[in-house]
């Protein structure tokens, strides 16, 4: 590094960011862009959760920032990055900072976390001092070298960066305890002088890694810095080190200083201020005593903070009058491209969407099903039938319809292990496949020969009925086309030995549905077919299919076109798929529970040519 010791940051400084914090990273890059840096200031990111690449904007360009699993790896891959910005929590700030101190390439570490234990902070600070490295913090926003490098969030929004002239270097070195007052101070100094050269809030803890004096001595050594501003506070003895440095001549540049907390005398007890280091335990640690000592030692100390800006201006003006200040040419500030989200919020851009969704919405406080919050679905006891009516039919179907849907699901849920779907699911489960793969393996058998009968029955019976065909014509027509009528026929059941499931469905439909036209038609058809052969009865698939059509029509919720669309789109297939998935998953879990081994079909069950 060719950078002098007193200079922590320049226009080529790059940093390793410890902790995957997207926003400060983008803010650093935005700062880089408006300062017209040649290359981004973020070299890499450390994220123990995993390596990879982070996408971020550098102006209008999207760049990829490498992510590493450890500080050591990031440091060895990016030896030029001599700053680490440590966003680790108070718990892990210590080990990660110590790891960074071990990297020969890392020279400056900013520790953002609040609540780092004092002893840990002291150890970090001592090790850094031993190795001639700089720690800023803990409990700080970081720091800024205007026009060069921004630590994380320091300086706030880009608007503030520009208005406080933080996009280019001035000649004032600024150091403060309080991070919360840093923007205010940057703004104030920019208004009263030609701007800040470097601004460092060291953090409000009792033992910050670097002290007010450490930074003032760097400023003193830096020929670019003409005057210094220091904002200390009540508590601790940091300010007395400055007093000593003023007295022994280590500080010679004009210093405007103020210790906050002069109000403490107004309070009856020792109020603990927000900062841990700010408890005045002795007279010497009061802000008044510190201000008096600083004034005595030759610092410019205002009578109150209210004059702070005025004293800063006067000090700067006298330097200017002495010809110490060279004029600054204001650099051009490139306009930062606006983020799409911001532009959209402000109504400046629009774009057409790529998706439409009409059944549910998860954007509000609670997801909704067809505009009904899920809690209401529960409170109103709408059941699975109700959820299906909302998400599939986008309607609140009458209670009998919801109950009928649930009956259908219960009836089709399983049909034993031998049917092709269940069989497939079992084979897949026994091959060691996971639940979803095994389930899908079963579902994939559903189609023209297995499981499709409900939808087909609804389709053909409805078509024939709507066309005004007589049952006999329909049967003849189907025979002529060479199609077995879907929903007709059973392996063992017959007219004399009816299927109880069908009986129950028919009874329910007759009792609850406003009309049973298609069921009546199907039963007429059954009379024709059973006359030919006793087992050619209206089976459970057929019954569900025709009753479903009656249910849709009778509900008054759908137009004729809508009913046809429901059949064409395969809603009834969906009822079968949903219901039967229950059974398939049961078989899969059953096989896994029983630890069934890989299935191999026996040779003697295969005819080989």
């Amino acid at each position: 590094m060719t950078r002098p010791d007193y200079e922590l940051f320049d226009r080529n400084t790059t940093a390793v960011i410890n902790g995957y914090h997207r926003r400060p990273i983008q803010r650093m890059l935005d700062f880089d862009y408006i300062c017209q840096r040649q290359k981004p200031s973020v070299a890499s990111i450390v994220n123990p959760a995993g390596a990879g690449l982070h996408k971020a904007f550098f102006g209008t360009e999207e760049i990829l920032i490498p992510i590493y699993g450890s500080v050591a790896e990031a440091a060895s891959e990016h030896p030029e990055a001599d700053v680490m910005i440590n966003f680790a929590s108070s718990r892990s700030a210590f080990p990660s900072t110590m790891e960074a101190l071990d990297q020969p390439t890392v020279r400056t570490i900013a520790v953002i976390a609040e609540g780092v234990p004092e002893r840990k902070a002291r150890i970090m600070a001592a090790v850094a001092r031993e190795r001639e490295k700089t720690i800023i913090g803990p409990a700080t926003v970081g720091g800024i070298a205007p026009g060069c490098f921004r630590v994380g969030n320091t300086g706030g929004t880009i608007e503030n960066i520009v208005s406080a002239k933080l996009n280019r270097r001035g000649t004032v070195g600024f150091v403060a305890k309080s991070g919360g007052m840093s923007n205010e101070s940057f703004n104030s100094i920019a208004r009263h002088t030609n701007g800040i050269y470097e601004g460092i809030p060291i953090g409000g803890d009792a033992y910050p890694g670097s002290t007010l004096l450490d930074h003032l001595l760097r400023f003193e050594a830096n020929p670019e810095i003409k005057m210094m501003v220091c904002l200390g506070e009540i508590g601790g003895s940091d300010e007395y080190r400055i007093v000593e440095a003023l007295e022994d001549g280590r500080i010679t540049k004009p210093l405007v200083a103020w210790a906050m907390g002069t109000c403490a005398k107004e309070f009856p007890t020792n109020l603990q201020f927000g900062h841990a280091g700010a408890k005045a335990s002795t007279e010497k640690e009061t802000a008044d005593a510190k201000n008096a000592a600083l004034r005595q030692a030759g610092a410019v100390v205002p009578d109150s903070y209210d004059d702070f800006g005025d004293r800063i201006r006067e000090t700067f003006k006298s330097l200017e009058a002495a010809g110490e200040i060279e004029p600054i040419v204001e650099p051009e500030v490139p306009e930062l491209p606006m983020d799409y989200e911001v532009a959209k919020r402000q109504g400046m851009v629009r774009k057409s969407t790529h998706f439409i969704c009409t059944i549910s919405d998860d954007r509000g406080e609670e997801p909704t099903y067809n505009q009904i919050p899920i809690s209401q679905v529960l409170e109103r006891d709408m059941g699975i039938g109700g959820v299906i009516s909302l998400l599939w039919f986008k309607k609140e179907l009458p209670d009998y319809a919801r109950e009928f849907i649930e009956m259908c699901l219960q009836i089709v849920a399983d049909h034993g292990p031998a049917v092709s779907g269940a069989h497939n699911a079992i084979i897949a489960a026994r091959a060691g496949k996971d639940l979803i793969s095994s389930l899908v393996s079963g579902l994939l058998t559903i189609g023209p020969r297995f499981g499709g009968a409900i939808n087909d029955a609804a389709h053909y019976f409805k078509q024939a009925f709507d066309a005004g065909q007589k049952p006999r014509e329909f049967v003849a027509d189907m025979k002529a086309k060479g199609i077995y009528i879907p929903g007709i026929g059973h392996r063992v059941r017959s007219v004399g030995n009816p299927d109880v499931r069908v009986t129950l469905l028919k009874e329910y439909a007759r009792e609850h549905f406003p009309s049973n036209d298609l069921l009546d038609f199907a039963l007429e058809v059954e009379k024709v077919t059973t006359a030919k052969k006793g087992n050619l009865i209206l089976n459970v698939d057929g019954c569900i299919g025709v009753c479903f059509v009656d249910m849709l029509r009778g509900s008054g919720c759908f137009t004729e076109e809508a009913v046809q669309e429901i059949i064409d789109l395969g809603y009834l297939n969906a009822i079968f798929v949903l219901g039967r998935s229950i059974g398939f998953m049961g078989h899969v879990l059953d096989q896994k529970r029983l630890k069934q081994p890989l299935y191999r079909h026996p040779w003697d069950d295969i005819s080989y040519l």
């Binding site: 004092e118 150890i123 007052m181 923007n183 205010e184 104030s188 906050m260 907390g261 109000c263 903070y305």
Partner: protein, 423 residues
């Protein structure tokens, strides 16, 4: 918060639990009991049978010292006498300096007869680069007057006390080995449990026991994640004489419920200068300026809101202040001042935080007028122009004088503008 004082009882409890591991030839049995308003004496005696067998000492355990001088020390008492002593003091007002509070916690331990000349002083505190051990053979409450007898031993932060020649640092005296061993053990105890301050003054050696007669200690509460299991059930009591008003308690409860920060201390409810300030640093600076300009006696409150509070939170916070501020007009009919101040926010949406403030101000329109309240606003940061405009518009609706300033005006300038003393 970082350094938190703990009760003498807790300090001695921890000492008894962890110190003997590092000691040889003598020990500290740690017979201590804490009596609170909830204490069941029978259970306490069951747990601490020594209470019924030995002569006892009793004193309040409420983070204040010099109890002997205050007459708050019961010596050489039987258990029944201790009970009577506590009955006499429990719940009674006690005034120390200008603070008055009720006594509620008492420490009871065995009475150890000893010679005053055997009393020694030991303390540990931290400095940036070292822990400092203070030792004197002249223990007792007069230690500050005899500071020249105190030996200081530095233990550099990156060293272990085993690397420090403690014996060499001390003059020779009888029983020095025990003191050296105690200092080493105590420093380990100090580091392992994240103490930031510890003072045992005085202590004596009696037979093979070290007896701390008085013990003051502070822990670093940020170390809870690594030391909390060692501390056990620790309490960080508020300082003696701290009374939270209902309003302060309410804001504290709001503060605990949110990720934002809401702080309120009512200093002088009769004061005419009220502040509603964003940010911890800014709140100190406003209070400083009020004090520096000579209006300290008129400063009514101190506090801050920050960390992106919601509209509801700033509303509740403002309402609490307005309620306090407008309870009764100034007896001399002088105006009151509300300073809605703040520096330049980093990322907080200023306009949004103002929404809650404005809602509360509108609700208190009548009271504000009746109390002759004048409002001064100064703030910067994201959307500050919008926020300041909202305040100006409010001024017209409210019929209360509101002056509004942005980052072009020095942060605290609204203080002299409101109170005079400067243009």
């Amino acid at each position: 918060m970082a350094r938190r004082a703990i009760r003498e009882y807790d300090a001695k409890r921890l000492l008894a639990k962890y110190l003997p591991n590092h000691l040889e030839g003598f020990s500290y049995p740690g017979e201590v009991a804490l009596v609170t308003p909830e204490t069941n004496w029978d259970a306490l005696v069951d747990e601490n049978p020594w209470l019924a067998k030995e002569k006892l000492v009793v004193k309040p355990d409420e983070l204040f010292s010099k109890r002997g001088k205050l007459g708050l020390l019961g010596l050489n008492l039987s258990l029944d006498e201790v009970k009577a002593w506590i009955d006499e003091h429990m719940g009674k007002d006690q005034t120390i300096g200008d603070l008055t509070d009720k006594l509620t916690h008492f420490l009871v331990e065995p009475f150890v007869p000893h010679e005053e000349e055997d009393e020694m002083f030991l303390a540990l505190r931290t400095e940036r680069e070292a822990d400092v051990v203070y030792f004197s053979l002249q223990g007792g409450i007069e230690i500050e007057e005899q500071w020249e007898t105190v030996t200081q031993i530095q233990v550099p932060i990156l060293s272990d006390i085993s690397e420090v020649d403690v014996a060499d640092a001390l003059t020779d005296f009888e029983g020095k080995e025990r003191v050296v061993l105690l200092i080493r053990a105590l420093h380990k105890f100090f580091c392992d449990l994240a103490f930031t301050y510890l003072e045992i003054n005085p202590f004596v050696f009696v037979d093979n026991q070290v007896v701390p007669l008085d013990f003051v200690a502070k822990l670093d509460d940020t170390a809870a994640f690594e030391c909390g299991h060692k501390w056990g059930d620790i309490e960080f009591p508020v300082a003696f004489g701290t009374h939270l008003s209902a309003e302060e308690e309410y804001i504290r409860s709001l503060d605990q419920k949110t990720g934002a920060s809401l702080k309120l201390n009512v200093v002088n409810p009769q004061g005419r200068v009220w502040t509603l300030v964003a940010g911890g640093g800014a709140s100190i600076v406003y209070a400083d300026t009020i004090s520096d300009l000579g209006f300290g006696s008129e400063m009514a409150n101190y506090g801050e809101y920050s960390g992106n509070p919601t509209r509801e939170e700033t509303y509740e916070y403002t309402k609490t202040i307005l309620d306090l501020m407008t309870r009764e007009p100034d007896p001399e009919g002088k105006p009151k001042y509300l300073l809605i101040g703040g520096g330049i926010a980093n990322f907080t949406n200023v306009a949004k935080t103002f929404e809650g403030i404005i809602q509360a101000l509108e609700e208190y329109k009548e009271e504000l007028i009746e109390n002759k309240v004048r409002i001064y606003v100064r703030r910067g940061g994201p959307h500050y122009k919008e926020g300041l405009q909202m305040m100006r518009d409010l001024g017209e609706r409210l019929g209360v004088p509101i002056e509004v300033y942005g980052p072009e005006t020095h942060m605290t300038r609204i203080v002299p503008m409101a109170l005079g003393g400067k243009s």
